[in-house]
Structures are given as structure tokens and as C-alpha cells.
């Protein structure tokens, strides 16, 4: 008896999984695509992040990934036929340096950004405070600003992708569907799923830190681990922070959304895969937040939440075919939402069209870790 068969099985219905499915369907190759997710809508990292995107990076490949993605965000309402809107906000992104070393790093990457057409500029401390009057002066040296950067609603983007996928007769998206077992024989994959098995010609894993456990039985591996984070949202306030902020030293990003709420994502070294709010988180985060933005002391916290993103050894995405033929991975390394349009397009190139010519893909393949040379993004991990 033959199993129900699909051409591509995508595991994970987050930003990478849904974007890949949408771009694959857009190729109109007739390929049947099944997306499965063990959680529910937006329940993973794509629905739990700070919603920001920026082109201000130091490596060309990161800048290009985000430039292509931003071009998509700017036209996504039409491309995805989503008149409700995606809450796209382009009030700029201010990357703050609280040490001379961090400021020097911001300065050093400016030529690359400008060569690629990113309209970024360096600001001194006074200019930063003029832009965000609530900023604390403590240790503030300056920042880098790009007015085209901003944020997009993760929920709206995921819902737009989901609805667009579901309108395509060749795509099926199933939530609460877990991959119990993944095997390969006779050139195709036999997959045990909640609700019954399927056979897939190709499999794309978009489950970030959960990728290794799916690969292990097939003898393949990619180096990625979980990175739990927690976030805070305040009650709505009149505008206090116009651009998105990120402080390289505080490890905090700040996004005041249109309805006035201010969202803080605070990174803290922690292991595990729990999305629970931890008891000591607020006591850890609040002094950092009031140091960065002293007027926040009087702002009521509405809620906290947690999420689990992923991190790879060089903090770059891992995109490509594994040592198992027909088995692909797209691992985000904590920037899944902001790079998802470009990555979805690349995965369609690769999985549907077998096109391996993209120069970025060539740099981000899973085999790069075998050489021992890591490409390092300078605008990360400045602490």
C-alpha cells in the first residue's frame, strides 16, 4: 500500500517554513507542498520576537539578506494579497554604543553599508538624545542610525503567509502535527506524523534549534543550539521611542509599536527550551532598562513572555542541503523574521529549481563548519 505522497515536506510553520512554502508555490511547478508544525499558529520563535528588522550589519551577506527582505516587506500587502496590512513601521533603527570600542565598530562597518546603498549615519551622544529624548547619558557614546529600518508585525506577516499558502491548492498547512520519525529509503523520505504517515521526495527542516534531533536518526548534523529569551510589553504610552533601539552592551532591543505599547526583548545567557517567564527575569531586566531609558521607571509593565530562538557557531543562518540528499535545512540563528522573505526565495531556488548559484547560499551552507573557518558578523555580541 502506498503512502500519501508530497513533493516537499516542510517541518515548521514559522517565518522560514511559511515563507519557503509560499515562494515554492509561487514557482508554479505543480509541486505538492505540506507544511507541518507541532505547535499552533505563531507559537514558536517567529511569533515571540521583538519584530524589528534592520539593514545595519557589517557583513555584506547579512546586509543583502535584509535588503532583499525589506523590499519584500514594502510590497508584501500586494504580493500576499493582505489588505489588513502588516503594521510595517519604518521610523528607523538606532544601534547604540555605550563604549568607545562599540562605537569604533559601528564606524568601521559604515563603508560596507554605504557601498551597498544602506542610508546609515553615525550619531554622537547628543544627536542620539535629540532623536530619543528619554535616553540615559550613562556611558552613552553614540550610535548608528538608518531611517529605512523598522519593524513589522510577526502575527500579521505569519497570518498573511498562512492565508496566501492556504489559497494555493498545492499547499497544505497542518498545525498540532508532530514529526514522530523521519527515515529515508529508495530515494524518498518516509515520515511518521501525528495523524498518519506521508512519503516526501524532499524535506526542508525549518525548526531552528529542534533541527538536530530530527537529523540525528539519519546520521546528519548541523551545529545549532537553543537560545531562550524573554520579552516585556508595557501599557500604551504617548510616543517615547520613535526609532527601534538596540543597545549592544545592554543586550536589549526596544520597539514602541503604533498602539503605544513598548516592547523590550532582553537577552540573558540561559540554556534550555522553555518559553516560561522566569521568576527572576524582571528583577534582572528592569535596572538595565531604566539605565538605558530612565523615564521608563514610571511606565507600567503590562506583561512578560518568553520564546526560544536559536544560535549557530558563527551566529549566521545555515541554509542548504545536508549530507543526506534531498534533506535541506533553513536555520535562522535568531533573525528569522527579518530575513524570512529572502530565505524563502532562496529555499525555493534550491529545493524546487535545484539552483545553487546564489552567492549567499554558497556562504551559508551546512558544510561550512567542516572547514573550521567562521564568518563573523561584527555588529553582534559586543558585550
Amino acid at each position: 500500500m502506498s503512502l500519501p505522497a508530497v513533493d516537499v515536506l516542510i517541518v515548521g510553520a514559522g517565518a522560514y517554513g511559511l515563507s519557503s512554502a509560499w515562494w515554492m508555490a509561487k514557482r508554479q511547478s505543480g509541486a505538492r507542498i505540506l507544511v507541518v508544525d507541532e505547535g499552533e499558529f505563531a507559537s514558536g520563535a517567529s511569533g515571540r520576537n521583538g519584530a524589528g528588522f534592520r539593514m545595519q550589519w557589517g557583513l555584506e551577506l547579512n546586509i543583502r539578506l535584509c535588503q532583499e527582505s525589506l523590499r519584500f516587506f514594502e510590497t508584501a500587502v500586494d504580493q500576499l494579497d493582505y489588505p489588513q496590512g502588516l503594521e510595517l513601521k519604518q521610523d528607523g533603527y538606532l544601534v547604540l554604543a555605550h563604549s568607545d570600542k562599540a562605537f569604533a565598530t559601528l564606524d568601521s562597518v559604515l563603508p560596507t553599508q554605504h557601498r551597498l546603498g544602506v542610508p546609515s549615519e553615525l550619531l554622537d551622544a547628543d544627536e542620539c538624545v535629540r532623536m530619543v529624548p528619554g535616553l540615559g547619558r550613562n556611558r552613552l557614546v553614540g550610535g548608528s542610525f538608518c531611517g529605512k529600518d523598522g519593524s513589522i508585525s510577526p502575527f500579521r506577516l505569519l497570518d498573511a503567509l498562512l492565508r496566501a499558502c492556504r489559497r494555493d491548492p498545492n499547499v497544505e498547512v497542518r498545525y498540532r502535527t508532530r514529526v514522530e520519525r523521519l527515515e529515508k529509503s529508495n530515494g524518498s523520505f518516509q515520515v511518521s506524523l501525528t495523524g498518519g504517515p506521508v512519503e516526501a521526495k524532499r524535506v526542508l527542516l525549518c525548526t531552528d534549534w529542534a533541527v538536530p534531533q530530527l537529523l540525528a536518526p539519519l546520521g546528519a548534523e548541523v551545529p545549532v543550539v537553543s537560545l531562550p529569551k524573554e520579552a516585556i510589553v508595557t501599557v500604551p504610552r504617548a510616543q517615547m521611542v520613535k526609532p527601534i533601539l538596540v543597545s549592544l552592551e545592554h543586550h536589549i532591543s526596544v520597539n514602541q509599536v503604533d498602539r503605544g505599547s513598548i516592547v523590550f526583548v532582553v537577552a540573558r545567557p540561559r540554556e534550555g527550551t522553555s518559553i516560561e517567564s522566569t521568576p527572576d527575569f524582571l528583577a534582572y531586566a528592569a535596572p538595565k532598562i531604566t539605565d538605558l531609558l530612565p523615564p521608563m521607571a514610571d511606565v507600567p509593565i503590562l506583561r512578560t513572555w518568553g520564546g526560544v530562538s536559536s544560535v549557530t557557531p558563527d551566529m549566521q543562518p545555515i541554509l542548504g542541503e545536508t549530507e543526506v540528499e534531498g534533506l535541506y535545512v533553513a536555520v535562522s540563528s535568531f533573525r528569522g523574521l527579518m530575513t524570512s522573505p529572502a530565505v524563502g526565495r532562496m529555499m525555493a531556488d534550491l529545493v524546487i529549481d535545484n539552483d545553487t548559484n546564489d552567492p549567499i547560499l554558497a556562504q551559508l551552507g551546512p558544510r561550512r563548519f567542516k572547514t573550521g573557518e567562521l564568518i563573523v558578523e561584527p555588529l553582534l555580541n559586543q558585550a
Binding site: E40, F41, A42, S43, G47, F155, D159, L162, R163, R166, Y175, V235, S277, T278, P279, L282, A283, A286, P287, I289, T290, M296, A297, D298, V299, P300, I301, L302, R303, T304, W305
Partner: protein
């Protein structure tokens, strides 16, 4: 070593639990969000306003007695009013804010006696100023001695609308109509239970006498289907409903009023227990999502107890008896005393709880909301007030295949606002069931904070106190 107990909530269950635990030698901290003890039912006005004469003598006596008993141990209880218990974690940490400061407590046992809130069934115009929960209207009367309206229509199910109508009349208010979802004779079906609850039943009859003597129009099987007015409530349209809760066409009447007080039962304040990870159960008639608990109030989390209406809505008399039982159970180290020994020691309180519970069981059907009533919520009706979410938005998300409360929330923001879903969550669940067949309902993931506190109050936090 002295055992430390934190009781959350100073209504009948919390007061009784604190009193009992202190009597048994425990170190008790009693946290309450209000300025004075008593909770909703025994709410005290500012002392300058004197005691209320609107409640029945029996209820006033019960209020006096429970507060007096608490007073007798008050010197041994660390009572903290105006406390905002904003989070409870599975490790037993209770996070509390007091205005500009905050504190982390880690006692040996926690008794949650957080009671209930009223459950809303959204209908067109329900957000018009002048439309209130019946208990909310009563709270204004109790705490401030102010009539919340000049001419009132009272509506809903269960006993609260009757009590509120009578108390408004006694306070000099004008009640134009009392509309009841169910006929009162339903309560008469179980004579044995009535006998056991005769104290409360007689009080109910006296409230009804007040209403009858005032000539208030009493409409059985009627509900408000529309509130009229833009700036302020001007009138209410009442309609007859059948047993399934469906509006009977052609039986509408408009009544001019500036206050509509509605109660369709209650939703348990179970957020703290849920946040800590306690096992929950769902009982639509008794408060919705309830922490699963045994006869001594023990939840699935060691050291975490629940007492009173938060454990299952059964009224103040059950709450008081249960508070005593749970206070006693929390005051002893776990497993130090066998259940049989405890049962013997608490025989009187257990018996009292059982008697009052029998009456409450007999009348619980009067609090049952028939499914059809949720059809009062139209596509244009706001369901989530904080985020201004209409039924149309929720249905659109459901139609797109979003089939859980969390998925609906992520799409339309219902429950993401100031109140964290306290007002709308039951409605979103019931409406999702009605329109998309989602069942059984799964609670939205509860997160800190139950109520907002400032960053400054967190920065000023005192470290965990092992009491």
C-alpha cells in the same frame, strides 16, 4: 519552626483561612488589593460613611462576625491592603507590588482566595457608559454610598440581580424593571436543599418582597438585547428568550433608564494558579477555568491551596467554611497529619461547607447560561474592550482556520490589553465554540503580570523573603 502562610484575598474565604491559620500558630501574611478587608460581598465603606443598612440583617451579622473573628487574631496577622499580587511562579515565589515598591515572598504555603469577577455576555451597546456589571453597581453603593444611576434596569441570572435591585431600592433608587433569564421557581425544585439553605433563601424572599412592594416590573425569561445611547445610556431594549437562550421575535420592549446592571454569573480569578502551572479544570456553571483541588483545597502544586469561589463558585457561606478548612490544612506541614485525622478535626467546618454546598448545587442551574444567549453578540459588537476587537474580527480569524484561543489572540489581540483577558476570555471561548465548534476550551497561556506594575517598582524590589 513556625510555618509561614500567605493568603491572597481578604473576602470570606481569605479572612477565614487567615484567621484559622493564625489561630493554629502559623505566621500569616494576608494580601488584599482593596483598602479594607471584606472582599466583594463584605465590602466595607470608608469608616466615615458608617455601615450599610441596605443588606439583609443576616448578611450584616455574618459580615460583622467574620470581621470580628479576624480582628481577634489581627495582632498575629501581617495584613497588607492595597497589595497587587502580580505573579506566582511554580517555584512558590509570590511577587507583590505595593505602589512604588515590590517584594518577593516565598512562604511555606500559599492560599489563593482570589474570588471571582463577573462574566460578560457582550451585546450591542454593552460598552455604553451607564451599563455596568450588577456587582460593580453594588460595589459603588457599598463602598461610596452613591447610587450609580437614577433609574435602573437590572438583568441577568442567579441571585445577584435580585439582591442588587432590592439594595438599590432601599438606598432610594428607582428600579424600572428586573429582568431574569430564568424563572425563580426553578430554585424550588429541591425542598431538602432549600431547607439546608433556608437562611439564604429567606433573605432572598425578603429582597423579593422589597422589589414587589416597590412595584418594580418583573420580567421572567427576558434579557437586554440592546443598550441605547451614545454619550450615556438612555434606554434598554429587553426581549423574551426561549429555554435555549434564543430571542423570541416580536416580544421586545424599550425601557428608559440611565443604569443597566447585568450579571450572567462569574468567572474565577484563577490566573495566579494557572500561571504557577496548577492543573485546571473547566466548569462553565461554576466559574469557568478552575484550579483542580481536593477537599482540603490542595492543588496539583505542593504548598499551593485554593479556597472559596476561586475553587468553584459557591457563594460566601461555602467560602467562609472552606476558608477555615483550607487555613487549617495549610497550617500543618504536608503529610504530617493523615487525611482521616484532619477530617475528624475539621468535622464541624466540613459539615457546614457540605450543607451550604448542597443548597448551592440545587440553585446552580439558575446560573447556567444557555448556549443560544451568545447569539446576542452580533458581528459589530465589541467583545474585547481593551483592544476594541469585534466579533467580526474573531470570526474572521476562526474562518481562516485559527482554532485555539492562543491563535485567535495572536490574530486579533483579544485578551492582549490592559485586563489580560479577564473580561473577555470567557466570551471569546464561548463565541469560538458557538461559531467554530472549538471544544473543550483551553485557557490562554497566563503570563505575568496579573496587573501592571512599573519598572521602578521592580527596581525597588526587596529580595525573596523566606518568611
Amino acid at each position: 519552626m513556625q510555618r509561614s502562610i500567605v493568603v491572597v484575598g481578604a473576602g470570606p474565604a481569605g479572612l477565614a483561612a487567615a484567621t484559622e491559620a493564625a489561630t493554629r500558630g502559623a505566621h500569616v501574611t494576608l494580601l488584599d488589593e482593596a483598602a479594607r478587608p471584606g472582599g466583594q460581598i463584605y465590602r466595607q465603606a470608608h469608616s466615615a460613611l458608617g455601615d450599610s443598612e441596605y443588606a439583609e440583617a443576616g448578611e450584616r451579622a455574618r459580615k460583622h462576625d467574620i470581621l470580628a473573628r479576624f480582628q481577634s487574631v489581627a495582632s498575629r496577622v501581617d495584613y497588607r491592603p492595597d497589595a497587587n499580587v502580580y505573579a506566582l511562579f511554580g517555584n512558590g515565589e509570590l511577587h507583590v507590588a505595593y505602589g512604588a515598591g515590590s517584594e518577593v515572598l516565598r512562604p511555606d504555603a500559599i492560599v489563593l482566595a482570589t474570588g471571582v469577577r463577573e462574566m460578560a455576555i457582550p451585546f450591542p451597546g454593552w460598552t455604553t457608559p451607564g451599563v455596568m456589571f450588577a456587582g460593580g453597581a453594588q460595589a459603588v453603593l457599598k463602598s461610596q454610598r452613591v447610587l450609580p444611576g437614577k433609574r435602573a434596569v437590572i438583568a441577568g441570572c442567579g441571585p445577584l440581580p435580585i439582591v442588587v435591585a432590592a439594595q438599590l431600592l432601599r438606598a432610594g433608587g428607582d428600579v424600572a424593571a428586573l429582568a431574569s433569564l430564568r424563572p425563580l421557581r426553578e430554585m424550588l425544585g429541591n425542598p431538602r436543599a432549600l431547607w439546608q439553605g433556608r437562611q439564604i433563601f429567606y433573605e432572598g424572599l425578603r429582597y423579593l418582597r422589597t422589589i414587589r412592594r416597590a412595584g418594580v416590573a418583573q420580567l421572567s425569561a427576558h434579557v437586554p438585547i440592546r443598550a441605547i445611547g451614545t454619550e450615556r445610556l438612555e434606554a434598554v431594549v429587553l426581549a423574551r428568550v426561549d429555554a435555549g437562550g434564543h430571542v423570541v421575535p416580536g416580544a421586545e420592549r424599550e425601557i428608559a433608564c440611565d443604569l443597566l446592571a447585568v450579571n450572567y454569573g462569574f468567572a474565577a480569578n484563577s490566573e495566579l494558579a494557572a500561571m504557577a502551572g496548577a492543573e485546571l479544570r473547566f466548569d462553565a456553571d461554576r466559574g469557568g477555568w478552575l484550579p483542580a483541588s481536593d477537599e482540603f483545597g490542595r492543588t496539583s502544586i505542593s504548598g499551593l491551596f485554593v479556597a472559596g469561589d476561586v475553587a468553584a463558585v459557591r457563594g460566601a457561606l461555602v467560602a467562609e467554611a472552606e476558608g477555615q478548612i483550607v487555613g487549617a490544612a495549610a497550617a500543618v506541614p504536608p503529610k504530617s497529619i493523615g487525611d482521616a485525622t484532619m477530617t475528624a478535626a475539621l468535622r464541624t467546618a466540613l459539615g457546614r461547607r457540605q450543607r451550604h454546598q448542597a443548597f448551592q448545587t440545587a440553585v446552580r442551574t439558575t446560573l447556567r447560561v444557555p448556549r443560544g444567549l451568545w447569539n446576542l453578540t452580533t458581528d459589530d459588537t465589541v467583545v474585547c474592550r481593551c483592544e476594541n476587537v469585534k466579533l467580526r474580527d474573531i470570526r474572521s480569524a476562526l474562518d481562516a482556520g485559527h482554532s485555539s484561543l492562543n491563535a485567535v489572540k495572536r490574530n486579533v489581540r483579544s485578551g492582549m490589553g490592559w485586563c489580560g483577558g479577564r473580561t473577555c476570555l470567557r466570551a471569546v471561548a464561548a463565541l469560538s465554540e458557538l461559531h467554530a465548534g472549538i471544544a473543550p476550551p483551553v485557557i490562554m497561556t497566563p503570563r505575568p503580570m496579573v496587573r501592571p506594575i512599573t519598572f521602578g517598582a521592580v527596581v525597588a524590589q526587596k529580595k525573596a523573603v523566606d518568611a
